[in-house]
């Protein structure tokens, strides 16, 4: 075999390996989803959705878990969205290229890389202890808000950056003030992108278990929360708890709860992808 033939053979071999690598992740994903569906799907019925947790696997349900997840999502959105979008607007529209702006930028990039469990330690000390919130929904939502803030800020900035200079100039030329321009021109024009970022940040928050365990969310809560100061559990914590029990019945429960959690996650991500595609089609500056 000549040199060039062997080179061509290696080239082909790598192509096959490339296809293999590209699809192995997806194959594993498929095996995994199939496995979960096979184990958990038959466990899901109306009773499972509306039952309280129980020591007997066959009677346990996820009512408190999904109610807690829903509460956490709403509270986190209320706290994190205004802060994140506000910070994004400030950095993109108001901040001059000062040292502070530069520092803020590096700092936000750093916060995005802090492990979620560290946010849990922060929440435990600040919200749970110093502010006396206890292991409540409010403490959990505050903690998760800090966690997803960098995501919202970064996506808001990108969305605002995509709005062309001419739109702002046109607004100023008509006599609008800075805030009037931001509020009536820049924000509506970048709304699709900002919304996509918000939804993606929520899909991150919905799957988090570690920081909430650290702030003291419990696996067993015998009632659904009715105020933000109540104790709570969320789906990921319920799944973690069931997974760590040896009895097979609880494994089935965990698989069933995973199906519900994945449905929520994929739904949120699907909406985000849909919005992004629609935005790309619609907007032509």
């Amino acid at each position: 075999m000549t040199n060039s033939e062997s080179n061509r053979l290696k080239d082909k071999a790598f192509q096959v390996f490339g296809i293999f690598c590209t699809f192995i992740g997806l194959v594993v994903l498929a095996i995994f989803l199939f496995n979960i569906l096979e184990e958990g799907l038959s466990r899901i019925d109306w009773d499972f959705i509306i039952s309280l947790p129980s020591r007997r696997a066959g009677r346990a349900g996820i009512l408190t878990a999904w109610a807690g997840t829903l509460w956490i999502l709403v509270l986190t959105a209320i706290i994190a969205f205004p802060l994140g979008v506000g910070a994004g607007i400030y950095l993109e529209e108001y901040a001059r290229k000062t040292r502070l702006a530069n520092f803020l930028e590096i700092n936000i990039a750093n916060l995005a890389g802090v492990p979620s469990i560290i946010y849990g330690l922060l929440g435990l000390e600040i919200f749970v202890r110093q502010m006396h919130m206890g292991g409540s929904l409010l403490a959990g939502a505050c903690t998760l808000s800090l966690l997803i803030l960098p995501i919202i800020i970064v996506t808001t900035r990108e969305a605002i950056k995509a709005v062309p200079r001419s739109i702002r100039d046109g607004s100023y030329a008509l006599g609008a003030s800075k805030w009037q321009t931001v509020w009536a021109q820049v924000l509506p024009a970048s709304f699709g992108g900002i919304l996509t970022g918000m939804i993606l940040s929520l899909s991150r928050a919905v799957g988090e278990a570690a920081p909430l365990i650290v702030i003291g969310a419990l696996a067993y809560v015998p009632f659904t929360p009715s105020t933000p100061l109540d104790e709570f559990t969320v789906l990921p914590i319920q799944i973690f708890n069931w997974t760590s029990r040896p009895q097979a019945g609880f494994q089935t429960n965990a698989a069933a709860a995973i199906i519900v959690l994945l449905l929520i996650t994929f739904l949120l991500n699907g909406i985000a992808v849909y919005l992004r595609i629609r935005q790309q089609k619609k907007v032509k500056w």
Binding site: F14, I19, Y90, G113, W179, V206, V214, N269
Partner: protein, 291 residues
């Protein structure tokens, strides 16, 4: 009008500055509790003692077993994710049709959106039993399956960041390589990958940082036995798992055991902080080489 404009600007400024307060808060919380911890436990013992048993009657406070556990699961994860992720990046850029690339990229991103507790379930109930069928000595909780599953999770991180880096290499370099008669493979690994090396290194560092801080997969599948070993077949404990373990128990606030999670936390924070900043530095230093 003037006044309300100023108030709004002030509020926006405040929401941006809150991010600095978060960083200060993290550092302050970790430092203040750790300082109380290191008043009772010498820092020399913390860094050199080979056992970690704060919850036992005979307490020993050596962080090394937890660091070893974290290192082991991270190394396995990178050993899985780097070859696969880099191959995907090269394949999609240099071999695949544009349409395949457009379809596969969002599909791979799905891997990154799945909650980690779900990956933990997968590692414990599917991957470990599967591996046990040909490694009989593998324990029910082990670093191997947790690390491998973590590797699958971070594949899209390495593949998409490396892919961006490779596609940022100027076309002229690729064309020159083809002009010299190189095959696609020689062009890829002789020209494109070296030219994109800074971006690829950044992707790996960020992946390491992610793996070091990953919690639920290892908490579910890797065990809760701090052990100074590099054997992937036995139960170990990572820094993050220890924090979860203590949080699930009834450790009274203000006790030495309570403070151990902050000492563990600051160790973790130092690792990830250093890794992230190295990656920023590399990015800044080498980014504009081809502009």
């Amino acid at each position: 009008m003037r006044v309300s404009e100023k108030i709004i600007e002030g509020l926006l400024w405040l929401s941006a500055v809150i991010t600095i307060l978060i960083t200060i808060g993290i550092v302050w919380v970790l430092l203040s509790e750790s300082v109380s911890f290191f008043r009772e436990v010498s820092i020399v013992e913390f860094l050199t003692e080979k056992e970690w048993t704060p919850l036992f009657a005979v307490k020993k406070f050596g962080i090394l077993p937890l660091v070893a556990g974290t290192f082991l699961t991270t190394a396995i994860a990178i050993a899985v994710a780097l070859p696969i992720g880099l191959t995907i990046a090269v394949y999609l850029n240099e071999y695949a049709h544009a349409r395949l690339k457009q379809t596969v990229k969002p599909l791979l991103e799905i891997l990154a959106t799945i909650p980690t507790v779900v990956y933990g379930f997968f590692a414990l109930t599917v991957v470990t039993p599967f591996l046990q069928s040909f490694i009989p000595k593998l324990a029910g909780f082990n670093a191997l399956s947790a690390g491998m599953v973590m590797g699958i999770m971070i594949i899209p991180m390495i593949s998409s960041l490396s892919e961006d880096a490779i596609s940022a290499v100027p076309k002229s370099l690729r064309e020159a390589a083809y002009g010299m008669g190189s095959t696609r493979l020689q062009t890829s690994f002789g020209v494109m990958v070296p030219a994109a090396s800074s971006g690829i290194i950044v992707s790996v560092i960020l992946a390491v940082s992610r793996a070091v801080g990953e919690t639920m997969i290892v908490a579910i599948a890797a065990g809760q036995q701090p052990r100074l070993t590099l054997n992937p077949l036995v139960p170990i404990e990572t820094i993050t798992t220890y924090i979860v373990q203590v949080s699930l128990g009834d450790v009274p606030h203000g006790s030495l055991e309570y403070r151990t999670i902050f000492a563990a936390g600051i160790t973790l924070f130092i690792f990830t902080f250093a890794l992230n900043n190295i990656s920023f530095w590399i990015k800044k230093k080498y980014q504009e080489k081809y502009d």
